[in-house]
Amino acid sequence: MSPSSPSLAPRPGPDLKAVGLVSLAAGIDTILSVKAAELSLKLLPPQASTAAPYVDGVFALEVGIGCFIFLGCCTAMAWSLLFHRADKYDMDDGAPIEGNLRLEIIWTVIPLVIVMAIATYSFRVNDILATLGPKVKLMPGEAPQLLTAEGEYGPVDVIARQWSWEFIYPNGVRSSELHLPLDERTHFRLQSEDVIHGFFIPAFRLKQDLVPGSVISYSLTPTIEGVYRLRDSQFSGGYFAANQTDVVVESREAFDGWLADSARQPLRPSYNPADELHQLRLRKGDRGWATVPPAPPPLVNASQDPSRPHDA
């Protein structure tokens, strides 16, 4: 490719100093990348579901490999910046290297192997998680059908509206915060009554859209007791940001007790921050741009408690 000239002739034998320097840099890069992969787990919320360790594993692997590549590329750039700078007014040319076929093949094959390996690993993790069941489309006006429950508990109906969450348990209890038994796989039927919403619990590392016109089967297993945030992750209009609630993970006994207690409570409108914001706006004279009025707060046996702190 490049014209032969004496300055381009290959040097006889390997340059031991260069090999040593590259090996040292690669060694430091490896150590830093492993450290970065370990530290990356600290950036994430607690691992509160069976899915979380697998997802975090893929993430940490990618942080490690990514950090190695990033540091490697930046070291090469920094080396050039430090040692290959031209002096002021120096307009000479650099080494006229136009290409190197072997090098170009190597840096095509290496990324190919890396990304295919990561994809194959993720493929296997997807199989293990197996959170998403079938999606059943409804004809207009059709009532939601029963999907086969794969979980040991459920199905819990999750109904999203603008802007509230409603959960209906198999014994008929309704709540606006989600209670789940610890270490049991719970099966959900996700439905939306208006627009697309997102069922997102960061501590569980899980997310699934609720698509109007479909019932989507979903399942997960919480592994640590606590109170976690469930956030609407798919933009749903005016008071999207307020469409959050809590997920309470508790022991089977506590869960059964809560279900029995709730069953004795009468249905009443749940606490609804979107409705409060809308009422505030109306009191102020409605000077914002147009918005869809919030759906009436769902009638529930157990309402969410805004004063309770959440763990993640």
Binding site: V55, A76, A95, A119
Partner: protein
């Protein structure tokens, strides 16, 4: 046409005037002018205006997000602001400004006098201010502008709380459809020009990488845009005429829209980033004084990106009820994109290696852009893998990643290109000191703005929220400060552009000692570029240090470029 360099005045760009009566002073920039150089500057000036508009919207949003509760603006106003910010930045800043570069650079780089279809070119440009006005008008219609994000998913985007036929959403759809039409007109023009109007001797593998990447990007426009435009028109029918393509209550499927939308809108990122890869590939050799490493492979990689970009769209829909087989398939195809983009990054590093680097403003913007792009590529790999994407998708992690691509890579490349080619097309040198100040403020501001977003996203902060839980406050304060710093960074830039153009030092023909056909022209280039004396290309681009001429009788072109008015009739051949 006979040579008209005798009357050439270096203070103004003299354009050919196929449209009778078109002015030849500053007013030409406000006319239906068919000169690609005028159109290029029209595109760039218009886009920079909209960069400021989009930037002001962004700063209001970051002002809202500096504290957890929704206290600066009403949540519905916030939704309108972020929707318009995204739309303005993509459709009124990035696409037009890159079309501006195409107009300025493609004809001189390939030795063509103008675009293949000059009137189509002008018509494509004038659609931009037209739909810009339509989009801006939506701030004043009842109910305010569109407020469901730049992807405008139904059924949320079909909810029309004002009940009027003319509402923010319908104007938004109209503007996007017109933008698509304008871009298709441009794409036809750019690809035809590159395919048909190259100088003698300029085979495909003697073409500058910028032209390769422009052709690759415009091919995506030709394939993808009809899908977006079709989807937008169906959305308009649903919104205004009561059809139910996407309305579930009539049997429609909202997810169908997502397929239409992302079939174009993911490749659209490559439409924007490919020309910037071209700019990097043009600028690194100049300021490293070295040939572009692996030029043929870099060229082919551009079209590999085009091909792969058309089969990745479902990675935006991993949690839309997409079955597992489809998630896995699109995970593999998305991951493959890392290979051709990696080839480019490694080729740039190879170009820098053992170079003689000059850290001018354009070089710094390129180095910063590549640095940020490596980071963005790695977070992109994370988003391509299904398990990680399910956690971080639709969170601020994506916002951070996206802005690392769109701002910290693409806009950096745009700034690099502006500083690098400024002397060629204005005939004036930009002020280096202001340029360096602009770079450092932009680099620090963008890092402060977009890096903490990744952290907020990993913690679980959803995107598009007007308020958030207090645990995300720290990352958001940093991001807001970074956004305000970016606002400050535009001051030296605008100052530089205005003052350099009006009173900067006069530029020589080739101030950076660059190799390329455009640098064999006077600064600014005459009408029709080389006119009838089109050079015959005899070698590939980027011959730094190789001592080989680019064209036959190169000295005569250099001499003529240095003294544009001296020898009007000299024929180099």
């Amino acid at each position: 046409m006979t040579s008209s360099t005798a009357s050439f005045d270096p203070r103004v760009l003299k354009a050919p005037h196929p449209v009778p009566g078109a002015p030849d002073n500053w007013k030409r920039f406000f006319s239906f002018n068919t000169d690609a150089k005028v159109i290029g500057i029209q595109y760039i000036a218009t886009s920079l205006f909209f960069l400021l508009v989009g930037g002001v919207l962004a700063m209001i949003m970051r002002g809202e997000l500096i504290t957890p509760p929704s206290d600066l603006v009403d949540p519905t106003v916030y939704n309108g602001l972020y929707t318009m910010h995204g739309t303005v930045m993509l459709f009124l800043f990035l696409f037009p400004i890159l079309n501006g570069f195409n107009n300025l650079l493609i004809p001189p780089m390939i030795g063509a006098p103008d675009m293949a279809f000059p009137r189509l070119n002008a018509a494509a440009f004038w659609l931009v201010p037209l739909f810009g006005v339509i989009l801006m008008a939506s701030f004043f219609v009842p109910g305010g502008p569109a407020s469901t994000g730049w992807w405008s998913y139904p059924p949320a985007s079909l909810q029309n709380p004002v009940g009027h036929l003319i509402n923010g959403e319908s104007l938004w759809i109209l503007a996007v459809a017109l933008s698509g039409i304008s871009s298709i007109m441009g794409a036809v023009n750019f690809t035809t020009t590159i395919l048909r109007m190259r100088a003698p001797g300029m085979g495909f593998f003697r073409m500058p990488i910028f032209c390769w990447t422009a052709a690759a990007a415009q091919t995506i426009q030709l394939v993808g845009l009809p899908a977006l435009t079709g989807g937008a028109i169906m959305l308009l029918f649903d919104l205004c005429l009561g059809t139910t393509f996407f309305r579930p209550e009539g049997g429609g499927d909202p997810v169908l829209y997502q397929h239409f939308f992302w079939f174009y809108s993911h490749p659209a990122v490559y439409v924007m980033v490919l020309p910037v890869f071209g700019i990097f590939s043009e600028i690194f050799p100049v300021y490293a004084r070295k040939p572009l490493f692996g030029y043929p492979v870099v060229a082919i990689a551009s079209f590999a990106i085009t091909g792969l970009s058309l089969i990745v769209w479902v990675h935006h829909m991993f949690y839309s009820g997409t079955p597992m087989w489809m998630r896995n398939l699109f995970m593999y195809t998305t991951m493959l994109i890392a290979v051709p983009t990696g080839i480019k990054v490694f080729a740039w590093l190879g170009t820098l290696w053992r170079g003689r680097l000059r850290l001018t403003t354009p070089m710094l913007f390129c180095l910063g852009g590549v640095f940020n792009f490596i980071f963005a590529g790695i977070t992109g790999i994370m988003l391509a893998t299904v398990p990680v994407d399910i956690h971080v998708g639709n969170t601020y992690f994506v916002v951070g990643h996206f802005h690392y691509v769109i701002f910290s890579t693409i806009t950096f490349g745009v700034f690099a290109g502006i500083y690098h080619w400024f002397p060629k097309f204005t005939g004036r040198m930009p002020y280096e000191g202001l340029g360096l100040l602009h770079f450092w403020l932009t680099f620090i501001g963008s890092t402060l703005n977009f890096l903490p977003m990744h952290w907020a996203g990993l913690m679980g902060m959803p995107r598009r929220v007007a308020s958030y839980d207090p645990e995300f406050a720290f990352a958001n304060v940093l991001a807001s400060l970074g956004a305000f710093l970016l606002g400050v960074a535009t001051i030296p830039f605008l100052l530089n552009m205005v003052s350099s153009w009006s009173r900067g030092r006069r530029a020589p023909a080739n101030p950076w000692q660059a190799i390329g056909l455009e640098w064999l022209l006077p600064s600014p280039p005459p009408a029709e570029n080389f006119e009838e004396n089109v050079p015959t290309v005899i070698s590939g681009p980027y011959g730094y240090g190789l001592g080989r001429p680019l064209v036959e009788h190169e000295e005569s072109f250099i001499a003529r470029a240095a003294q544009p008015a001296a020898s009007p009739t000299s024929d180099p051949a």
